[in-house]
Symmetry: D2
Subunit: 329 residues, 4 copies
Amino acid sequence: MDESLQENRTGMNSTAISPWFRPTTTHTQERDLVLLMAAGQKSYLITLRRGQQLHTHLGIFAHDDMIGQPWGTVVLSTLEQPALVLEPSLSDLMTHVKRGTQIIYPKDAAYLVHRLNLRAGSRVVEAGTGSGVLTTALAWAVAPLGKVYTYEVRPDTHQLARRNLERVGLLPYVEMSLGSIDGGFRQEGVDALFLDVRTPWEFLGAARAALKPGGFFASLLPTTNQVTDLLSGLDQHGFADVAVEELLLRAYKPIPERLRPDENMNGHTGFLVFARCMPLGIEMERWQGRDRQRYRARKRMEEEIAEEAARRAADEPDESRKYPRLPLP
Amino acid sequence: MDESLQENRTGMNSTAISPWFRPTTTHTQERDLVLLMAAGQKSYLITLRRGQQLHTHLGIFAHDDMIGQPWGTVVLSTLEQPALVLEPSLSDLMTHVKRGTQIIYPKDAAYLVHRLNLRAGSRVVEAGTGSGVLTTALAWAVAPLGKVYTYEVRPDTHQLARRNLERVGLLPYVEMSLGSIDGGFRQEGVDALFLDVRTPWEFLGAARAALKPGGFFASLLPTTNQVTDLLSGLDQHGFADVAVEELLLRAYKPIPERLRPDENMNGHTGFLVFARCMPLGIEMERWQGRDRQRYRARKRMEEEIAEEAARRAADEPDESRKYPRLPLP
Amino acid sequence: MDESLQENRTGMNSTAISPWFRPTTTHTQERDLVLLMAAGQKSYLITLRRGQQLHTHLGIFAHDDMIGQPWGTVVLSTLEQPALVLEPSLSDLMTHVKRGTQIIYPKDAAYLVHRLNLRAGSRVVEAGTGSGVLTTALAWAVAPLGKVYTYEVRPDTHQLARRNLERVGLLPYVEMSLGSIDGGFRQEGVDALFLDVRTPWEFLGAARAALKPGGFFASLLPTTNQVTDLLSGLDQHGFADVAVEELLLRAYKPIPERLRPDENMNGHTGFLVFARCMPLGIEMERWQGRDRQRYRARKRMEEEIAEEAARRAADEPDESRKYPRLPLP
Amino acid sequence: MDESLQENRTGMNSTAISPWFRPTTTHTQERDLVLLMAAGQKSYLITLRRGQQLHTHLGIFAHDDMIGQPWGTVVLSTLEQPALVLEPSLSDLMTHVKRGTQIIYPKDAAYLVHRLNLRAGSRVVEAGTGSGVLTTALAWAVAPLGKVYTYEVRPDTHQLARRNLERVGLLPYVEMSLGSIDGGFRQEGVDALFLDVRTPWEFLGAARAALKPGGFFASLLPTTNQVTDLLSGLDQHGFADVAVEELLLRAYKPIPERLRPDENMNGHTGFLVFARCMPLGIEMERWQGRDRQRYRARKRMEEEIAEEAARRAADEPDESRKYPRLPLP
């Protein structure tokens, strides 16, 4: 365990200065992140700076009108259009981030944080970083005492993520690495590890080496073929408590007199695969789910039946067909 | 804001002693919470104490066999049955808790924590406490610097929740109140508030009084009739950014050669209603969603058409029917 | 029962001439309905006529090239673009119809046909007709021996539906009425009845009068508020075996190496409400589902408890509050 | 095409005598199938016969009390328990059938009938028969002028299905074959074909031989691995318009004051795969969905990039790694 980490775990010195971690104030201050919500639910994420302006199709909003106001204030644009000054939520940060890559949805991020068992103080590895959307949610969960170690192979994506994390004030809780994970991770004994790569089954040995015993593993995959490959890999690398899950979010139109589900629904964001890293040398079959054990038992039985049938067929050459010939109906 | 809270926000002194918040160790210690997972995925949540025993249908497990062992160790019962010694996850804590009331599912708890925008240091109000399952998840999210203020009207349920929270080490982050919320909440300026009561629309004034401007509100309701009533109430009490959502979790049988969704699925855990508390005096209609505005516009138009039709009908008594009479086909 | 219907039920004379009902041929003929499927899955529904042409953005296709060809032939446009000549399916007919009103989806139409218990020979009432999409599916199910009686109040919609039904060859199995259903339906003893109107609960008396004893009733509604009103109405009008159901269709991208659900999903097409029309004078509570009976029993118990509490409160004026006063935490 | 079939298509002589196809009567008759629905929604499917009795835990019901009564009559048991005399629906027939094998659900059966484009007069092949539940729905759809050709390899299952079909009066519309389909199907030019076997991809050549050009193919599969194998097979055997779909049925508790989805939901009944049989010799890639074409294009591009990279690597041996080496963070 490297020293800087040790420091993180014993005190809060290194991180106490982040603007992210500050008792909530009743009024906005310069340098605060603000969600400006115009009518019609169009919204903007901005960092307040004296003298600056936000240009929109509803007119120009002056930062000075917002600084020092109570949260929830209404400000007017040069075209007399009103907008609400709100504290941005984690969801707002995740959805307003500049993206070069695919999206991770709040519902999945929230559930990943939960299933990776993160809390203030956790150490978690992530690969790849992407545009830093999930990194934001991970850092939010482990701050101000933990750390996210994130790896990204593409330099431009790495830079984009760094800017995004800096902007939302969560960079102090993240250690970013530019480069391939082919050679493994530099951390040991981390609490949790998340793989967002195309072939996660190729990095399970590296994942084992980084995770503490019993540590939490997760991956997000778009296709069933990948899930199948990852499940096979998890078996071979001594992971247990394996689960494959999917979350479907159904939104409703919030009209009291006409309550109904929304027609627009995202039908698929990804399959979530979870597992825990077990000590080596354990006979893992005992801790597989019942379905799995039943399947293995049935398969063994079928193989025995097939062998028996093959033996009989060799003995009695006339009855070579498994099924009776087709009779008249 | 009371003093103890003030202390919480500025330092960690009062909470640093909780067993919950402790750098993760590689070996178990006495008084650690342990998830003992036997074969077939039957598991037990126990607190390790020298000399004690756990009696199960697979035989007796001695606590002494587990104390001081590396996490992930396999121990044997008196009947030679093996079990894994694991660090319990938040999900494990939530599902192994003793329950007198209905359940809140991990997927919903995780999403509520996210949508209530909780983090280390947040202050959140909850009513009612129930058996403390959601309280556990809320405390996990705000520890070690924040606080959950939870209210429960039934003394036995209140006591059950207290024991549950104490057992999992999260009681230091929770302030429990026994009694009705008819008279409102004692907190002010809290970051978030969650209502798990039958008629949440009756407590929206109290919720406003407790929440900071822009604070996050949520409720979990089983029926559409309740959602309709709550939506009407939120309109009248100046809440904005209203959303009604549902999460469906689809689990898969994790067998690589036979990947398929599980037949057993929980078809309904509850409707989640989210909103933010806006300053009073704002003309909220402007910040309603487009569907809502379109619905109001259409309704106004229909009313005008109906009035016009009524006026015409009064003028021309012969054409009293809205539609032509039924012709022959 | 009118005479023409009687005739339908005893023989096939009146309907045998419809082009719809014809033994399937191996080659196309003039006047056949054809689904012309161009590359990229853009398709056209046309009726073959000598000398005619179909103009598309892929060039012009000559009808003469298609007439007398085996089904499945590939024809070329003037721009050398290929297209397949296919027999249109019921789904194709439903999705290619000209629409003035909202859509009914194949999944819902198929399930409605099933739950209305339709087959060749059934008599079914529908209101309103709309653009005739569901009428097409109903006629398809009851032809060539049954009849759909459909009502529509708007003359232009009625005309549109007539043209649509004529085009697909199903008009002989439909009796169309232009006019309001405020005065009821003209049929008696029908096997099934479907209401696709905004306030179906206002027409349940009329539905009873049209349905045979035990006849099948269904309605499709967008909002939960309407479902609540219809359920109340069904109770009051002696319907039984009531069910509210929803079908969600999840499509997958059919790529073997990358199998995954489609992101685009229709999150809501409508709530389906089903019931059967029982003889009057039956004490219907006995045939309600267990949930319903349990709910009524609990409600009765709660009312008794509330009465008891009110009585006690009147006797002992000091203990007027239901819950203890709020204690210090 | 064999003669008996020819007869079916030109007249109704051979089938007009089936009790299934009879104008609906207002009163029950001996030999009618009846659904006897007792309170609490327990129901029984019986064939009325003079002098017979039905023994239930609610007492004995006499058939004589039901014969000649109007549909919807209430009869009493010897224990004074009431029950409704109802005409059974297709759903009732499907769910009350004696089963030796797995279930096919009404929602899936209804959608299969729709997607296979069945109507009165269609000819459809099914393999295997199973206990005849889907056969019942197929026969219901094609009667009284069409035919279901169904194959089953296990003699006991074949017998069970025959008894089930005879009991519900649909046997005249079904031609049952006992035997393997390894040698193919005996029909030609059928309108539709449904495979409910473990390895449907092994029978696609046989399916082609039985189907008319443009004929409708479907299969129901439990696992994603099977779907992948079938999709590959359909590609190789010249099927087009391929779709993979799933139907999720969400039931609600039909209580007007407390409307809510049911907790019990069947999370998976099967993946439905649909396709149409195209003439051989067509370059099928042109008629694949856009996703599919895009995937192929991307794959080709990736292969070219990989080749290019390999070539470069061979030229410049120093830069053998695809990604830069891991730098310091």
